[in-house]
Amino acid sequence: MTKKNCGNILADGELTGHAHRVTLQVMEREDGVREFQGETTVTHEEHKPVKLPYLAWNSAKINEYDYYTEMAREVRD
């Protein structure tokens, strides 16, 4: 399974340029889940930081339902 190098970014804000970041290498799987391993703090310009203990982690964005297109999708920010 090929994985994409995402630097240290868990999720980007398209408009603001703000991002959920860690201090570790993040790789994205083909299903969109991003993986990283280690102890780190997740930071974002608009949210309080989240401390994570040393583990292998997965991350992904939450879903929302778009009643215009009648489809579920990842939230966009």
């Binding site: 408009l15 603001t16 310009e45 939450i62 339902y65």
Partner: protein
């Protein structure tokens, strides 16, 4: 040899906000064109190049418009070289600062001064300018010539460093004055440029930048405006479309607001019309803590459940989000589970499951978890 500065006086400490203001104000207002042109000439001489033809325009947009006409005469692209040149000079100045300042004091000033400037100049101004320019080059006509972004440099964010060094000089750090002066003259006058060997194109500074609580914000017009009217709108640090800011609150329909795809823009529109209106237009199906499950079918003029979860932002005070959820949800609990990422939903939920985390719209869970708790152990 310079002495090591280990502390600052109360008077020097009191000057920190004034220096922040000085360098934030430096990003907008009248450009000293004569000084800007001299700084460009000096930078080129410093790089061992002859003086280019220097052209200035009212905005980055106007610079882009001018680029195609100059394609034959402008010479070689200089963006990477100028970028590297500025970086080398700034890091040399940084080394001079580090050798004369105690690490603890440096760390203190970094958090009180440069981080603050960074959040304004980099996270807000430069990022949003980049975002605006990115949306510009997505237009088909712009692919007729080379990507303008590749041959341009946003200089605004370097105000962070010259502002910091300016304060460091005030408290006694001795810099190579010639280098610092050159960096200050160049960076404080040129926020955006497209450098070539024969031609140097730069934008005059914005005539207006509106800030509130450290974020770009103007509820009455553009948050950043250049002399030719180009610029962009922003509310509480979120770039907005023109109609989202200029439509009178009474004319903003909930149906239109809920169709806005970007959740940050939607959040700001909800803030504009008031969360009470949103709640009053929807039928409340369930409530738990700071969450409400609303059926907005009347707003959407539909006959079937049209469900939205209204929730308070745990990090930004008095801010609410409203996000669509699947119409099979009956409770807030159903809605919270529905929103989870698909990969996470495949993991069974148990009281004895492993803890997971949520920061805004991102969920983070142990990769090897066989079971997960139903709700995050930390939500920010």
């Amino acid at each position: 040899m310079s002495r090591l500065i280990t502390s600052i006086t109360a008077e020097q400490k009191a000057q920190i906000p004034n220096y922040i203001k000085k360098w934030v104000d430096m990003a907008s207002g009248e450009t000293d064109i004569a000084e800007a042109d001299r700084a460009v000439e000096d930078i080129y001489a410093d790089m061992g190049l002859k003086k280019p033809t220097i052209l200035h325009f009212d905005s980055p947009n106007a610079c882009y418009q001018a680029l195609p006409a100059l394609e034959q005469s402008r010479g070689k692209e200089m963006t990477p070289r100028l970028y590297a040149h500025l970086s080398v000079h700034l890091s040399r100045l940084r080394s001079q600062l580090n050798s004369q300042m105690d690490r603890q004091l440096e760390s203190y000033l970094h958090s009180r001064l440069s981080q603050h400037l960074n959040s304004l100049m980099d996270s807000q101004l430069s990022e949003q300018l980049l975002s605006q320019l990115n949306s510009y080059i997505r237009r088909p006509m712009d692919f007729l010539f080379k990507s303008p972004l590749r041959i341009s440099l946003i200089v605004f964010w370097r105000l962070v460093w010259v502002g910091y060094y300016d304060y460091a000089r005030y408290i006694g750090v001795q810099f190579d004055e010639h280098k610092l002066d050159l960096m200050i003259r160049f960076i404080s006058n040129i926020g955006f440029c497209s450098p070539f060997t024969n031609v140097f194109i730069y934008s005059l500074k914005p005539t207006e930048i509106h800030w509130a609580n450290g974020r770009l914000h103007n509820p009455d017009g553009q948050a950043v405006r250049y002399a030719d009217g180009w610029g962009w709108y922003a509310l509480n640090g979120i770039p907005m479309e023109e109609w989202q800011v200029t439509t009178p609150t009474g004319d903003l329909s909930l149906g239109k607001i809920l169709l806005v795809e970007d959740i940050d823009q939607r959040r700001e529109l909800v803030r504009r019309v008031g969360v009470e209106l949103l709640a009053s237009e929807g039928k409340e199906l369930d409530r738990a803590g700071d969450y409400k499950l609303l059926d907005m079918r009347a707003v959407y003029k539909r006959n079937t459940p049209t469900l939205f979860l209204l929730m308070k932002n745990p990090s930004v005070p008095d801010t609410w989000h409203c996000e669509g959820v699947g119409n099979e949800c009956k409770t807030v609990r159903d809605a919270l589970n529905w929103r989870k990422p698909d990969a996470m939903k495949r993991i069974p939920v148990s009281e004895n499951g492993e803890g997971w985390y949520q920061q805004g719209d991102v969920c983070i869970w142990p990769a090897n978890a066989l079971m997960l708790k139903e709700f995050p152990c930390v939500l920010t």
